[in-house]
Symmetry: C2
Subunit: 248 residues, 2 copies
DNA sequence: ACCTGAACACCGTTCAAGT
DNA sequence: ACCTGAACACCGTTCAAGT
């Protein structure tokens, strides 16, 4: 039963007893690509918290420590996976002549991407990866802000506001996105807890508890529109736009 | 040297060799209060990642597993500590007749509190604690939004926007807040990495890298003002205000 | 009633040895 | 050159036994 049973040590690797070489296994040469693929599969099946190098080794039919021939450590792997996981946010993105809409689409897509594959979120503690996909997101946002007429200082400042809001709200929403269908039951439980409070102690909560925890997508959009409206100037006149950086 | 040396097993507990009872130790009766105190001290000294129940037991001069007599599990402890850590955000808070300013002060104070003691952030994955301090923050914000004239649906929606922005941006900033003085060196390194990019591939980044990573306090304030301006109506006339819920 | 300590089922990582 | 496997130094948690 236990995953440490002698039987299950090499689940993917049909071994013949007594030290025979593995048979019926196409022993792939290990490399970063192969390891990333298996790790991404594993992370998609289970949550990031239960992902371990031992499970990764088992999946690859290889001793867990063979990993260290190809990556410095677990962080190194996670950074690589984190940046790869951002690919859907940049793939096929096309800037238009409406910087506000470019920012809206990029932030919405980035949030969706982060929530659907939480590796990118689980490594926020390691700082920006500064690898290809993340750089492209940064480029798109800064470009849009400058086309909207912001100078470099303002563009950088406002860029950080959008990143903090988008990634931050995804980070808060991630645990609930992970449990999927149980989300609405969880919300119902939380609302029920608020309902039990003494109205004299918490009049505002008691008046509003029925409306708490609306769709997190709607909450995000509400804040995003507010930020765009307040921080990104409306498209300049055609005259002014031709002076700005050309659309990439 | 190793923390598993026989010598160091009971660092806080001066034992006489060969099974003698501990001497010179005022053996405090364990309870939630005592455990929370020791755990808070431990978390203040080291980072949340290295905090373990074994270290907690050692600090208390008690076997690590005695803990389970008083808490269901580690999450139970962390929830308790998380809510206690929010106390500075509510202590002494006074609502005024300017709901916008109440929201500004509460969000700014909440962010500062979360960053100075990161336990509250480390448990965001467990959902809202719905314990006393967190409830008070919720009450203050909802009350301010309704005094500003929002109906219950809008107040709840906008409340969530402010919480996502405030807690989310604190969560992103936390790792850097933890390294303290090394923050500016880290920012310099990141800017240098952006500077190395080919300007043809990343024209917007190359134009703005010098302005990236301004003070995270300023970034937060920038977004907070934008959200307040866009989502919270200016104080109503005196006539309208007297109809709203009284100041608590 | 409360705490101990052995034990279980795990982690990430290092390193000498094997092929 | 690359992988193995024992080992190290840890985790959180359970439970029978002690006081």
């Amino acid at each position: 039963m236990s995953s440490l049973d002698p039987e299950s040590w090499c689940r993917t690797n049909v071994r013949i007893v007594v030290k025979a070489q593995p048979v019926d296994v196409k022993r792939v040469r290990l490399n970063r690509e192969v390891i990333c693929g298996a790790a991404a599969d594993l992370l998609a099946e289970t949550d990031a918290a239960t992902f371990s190098l031992r499970a990764l080794g088992e999946r690859l039919g290889v001793d867990a420590t063979a990993f260290y021939r190809h990556f410095a450590d677990k962080d190194d792997l996670l950074r690589e996976l984190g940046d790869r996981s951002l690919a859907p946010a940049t793939r096929g993105f096309k800037a238009t002549d409406d910087p506000r809409d470019d920012i809206r689409r990029m932030c919405t897509g980035l949030r969706r991407t982060l929530l659907s594959n939480q590796v990118g979120l689980s490594i926020t503690s390691l700082g920006p990866t500064r690898r290809t996909n993340e750089l492209q997101i940064t480029e798109v946002l800064l470009d849009a802000l400058m086309r909207a007429g912001l100078d470099t200082d303002r563009a950088a400042m406002v860029y950080h506001v959008f990143i903090e809001y988008t990634v931050g709200s995804a980070a808060l929403d991630a645990p609930l996105a992970a449990i999927g269908a149980q989300r609405s039951a969880t919300y119902r439980q939380w609302r029920a807890d608020y309902q039990k409070l003494a109205p004299n102690d918490y009049p505002a909560i008691s008046a509003t508890f029925r409306s708490l925890y609306p769709s997190s997508d709607l909450v995000f959009e509400e804040g995003l529109e507010a930020l765009i409206g307040a921080l990104v100037p409306k498209p300049a006149s055609r005259r002014a736009r031709t002076r700005a950086a050309p659309n990439r």
